[in-house]
Structure formats: structure tokens, C-alpha cells
Amino acid sequence: MIYWELFVAFFIANIVGYGGGPATIPLVEYEVVTRYGWMTVEEFGEVVALSNALPGPIATKMAGYIGFAEAGVLGAGVALFATVMPSLILMIIMLSILMRFKDSPKVKKLSAFVRPTIAVLLGAMTVRFIETSYFDNGWLQTIFLLGSSYYLMEVRRMHPAFVILLALLYGGIFLG
């Protein structure tokens, strides 16, 4: 049964995830945390942080790990299959048909109309992470970490992997 649930969760998250891998993060979170309760917000945060720190496509890293954590190697295989195959099969079929429609305004509009909804999902997830950090770390630490990681990543353009490494160090020493 868990395999079927894994398949459904990652199939839904990826087949409606317009805008590439990052757009699927809040949809995966909805399935994994809210709908099936496989992970807490904290655990999911670890998965997102580490997936961000490592190279390669983010959606498949999350699917592979969550599938593995829930149901071993076969679970990872099922979650990866559900993530990759449906849209790929669609692509192979459509590339033969859709080539002549690729400039159609309707096709171009699809991503544009879906984007604000994805933004809301991402925004809601941002708020949940800030809330959880407030419960675990208090306001002072949360604001300090939010401010300094924003400064390092967005102003100083430091690589996210280094910022995550610094946050892990800081947390291990001061928040344990």
C-alpha cells in the first residue's frame, strides 16, 4: 500500500508542478507533510536543505530520499519513477505532435497562469518554516538567522551549500 501512496503522491506533485523542479517543492511538501504525514516540517526542511546543497535536479533528490525513508530501495524506485516517467512520456508523445503548436499562445500561457498559484504555495511554505523556527529557536535566533542567511546568499552571493554548512555549524553549537 505504501508503494501505491508513494506513487500517487509524487505523480500528483510532479504532473501539476509547472515551472520545473523547484515548483514541485511545495506540492511534495503538501503530500508528504500535510496529506500522508510521513515527515514533520523539520524533517522535510532537512531534506530541502540538503537537496539544495547537493548538485543535480532537486525534485528527484527529494523523491529518491523520501521514497527510501518510507519504503527502502524499492520505495525510492517507485517515487523516482512517479516523478520522472509521466511527464517524460508526455514529452515524447507531444514532441511528435506539439512541434507545430509550440508557438501557440495557449501553450505559452499555461505556465504564466499557473505561476501565481505556485507562488502562493511557496509563500505559505516559507511562513510555515519561519513559524517552526520560531517555536524551536525563538524570535531572536530566527530573525538573526533569517537576516544573515539572506545577506550571505542574496547580497554577498555566497553559494547556498556554504550557507547551509554555516547554519548547521551554528545550530550544532548554539541551538542544541
Binding site: 540538503l50 535536479p57 507562488a119 518554516f129 542544541g176
Partner: protein, 183 residues
């Protein structure tokens, strides 16, 4: 021979593509067009354009389709495995290692320290989506869609897939008023 080239090409793409799928597109282009000459620039941008209009992760769609074009179903599976499996194994090893030390308070602290960093990443991503939507649709439609999505998803707890599905249907069914609508 071709299978080996496909594997090496997408292994490099998977391991060097920092910043998720979209970041690996120029790397795929370098392998498929410049290095191995499986296709020319025009074909590549056609594939990219179609890939962008379809849902799901972009990097695996590109890898799978290019693998399929170059060497059939075997090539498709080969290219996907090369671009996905090595980093999946890395994530599993790291997180399993972390989980086995969960009782220690410093590991709990590390988890807590990462929460705000993830929040910043997501916040920046959110803003990117809002800005891009604003360029495509104008702020009036964006504000409307944002508020409608908040009400439907967050207040009425409707599954986001249903909202996105409804939007897709709306775009496909709605008649086009002017031929030259900017999109």
C-alpha cells in the same frame, strides 16, 4: 559506445548542475550540442521550449528525451539513471547518517539552524515566481490569482492539484480574444 557517451554526458550534468534542474540546462546543451553533436542548437531550443511547457522536473525530461532520440528506450533509461541516481544516493547517505544521530542535542540544533535558511531560499523563490508572473500577466491578474489561490488552498484546504488543474483547463478552453495578446 553511444550508451557510454550518454551515460558520461548526463553523469557530468547531474553532478555539476548546482542549483537544481534549470541550472543544468546550459550543461546539457554543452554535452548534447557542442561536445557530442547529437543535435543542433535549433533542435535543442525546440526541445527546451516544449519541455518548459510541460509539467514536472525539466532536467530529467531533457535527459530522457535526448537519450530516447539518440539510442531508443535503452538510451532514455540510461540517461535518466546517469543524471539522477548518483545524487539521490548522496542525499540518502547524508540524511540517513544525520538521522542515526538524532538523539544528540547538537544534531537537533543543526536541524533548527537550517530552518531559517530554507525559509530564505523559499522566500526568494516565491518572489521570483511573483516577478515572473507579473512580467507575463500584469500585476492586476497576478494579485487576483494570488488572493484567489490563498483563499481556496489555505482557507478552504482544497488540494493544490485541483486548483492548478482548473487553471490549465481554463487556459485551454478559453477562446482567444485578440491574436496578438502578449504572453
Amino acid at each position: 559506445m553511444v550508451q557510454q557517451e550518454l551515460f558520461m554526458a548526463f553523469l557530468r550534468v547531474g553532478l555539476l548542475g548546482y542549483g537544481g534542474g534549470p541550472a543544468s540546462i546550459p550543461l546539457i546543451q554543452r554535452e548534447a550540442v557542442t561536445k557530442y553533436k547529437w543535435m543542433n542548437d535549433d533542435e535543442f531550443s525546440d526541445i527546451l521550449a516544449i519541455g518548459n511547457t510541460l509539467p514536472g522536473p525539466i532536467a530529467t525530461k531533457m535527459a530522457g528525451y535526448i537519450g530516447y532520440r539518440v539510442a531508443g528506450i535503452g538510451g532514455m533509461i540510461n540517461a535518466i539513471i546517469a543524471s539522477v541516481i548518483p545524487t539521490v544516493i548522496l542525499v540518502i547517505v547524508f540524511l540517513t547518517f544525520l538521522a542515526s544521530f538524532r538523539e544528540y542535542s547538537f544534531v537537533q540544533g543543526m536541524t533548527n539552524g537550517v530552518l531559517p535558511v530554507v525559509a530564505v531560499m523559499l522566500g526568494v523563490l516565491t518572489w521570483g515566481f511573483v516577478k515572473k508572473a507579473n512580467d507575463d500577466l500584469g500585476w492586476l491578474k497576478v494579485v487576483f490569482l494570488v488572493i484567489a489561490s490563498i483563499i481556496i488552498i489555505e482557507m478552504f484546504s482544497i488540494h493544490p492539484a485541483i486548483v492548478i488543474g482548473a487553471l490549465i483547463l481554463y487556459v485551454l478552453i478559453k477562446p482567444i480574444k485578440k491574436a496578438g495578446v502578449v504572453s
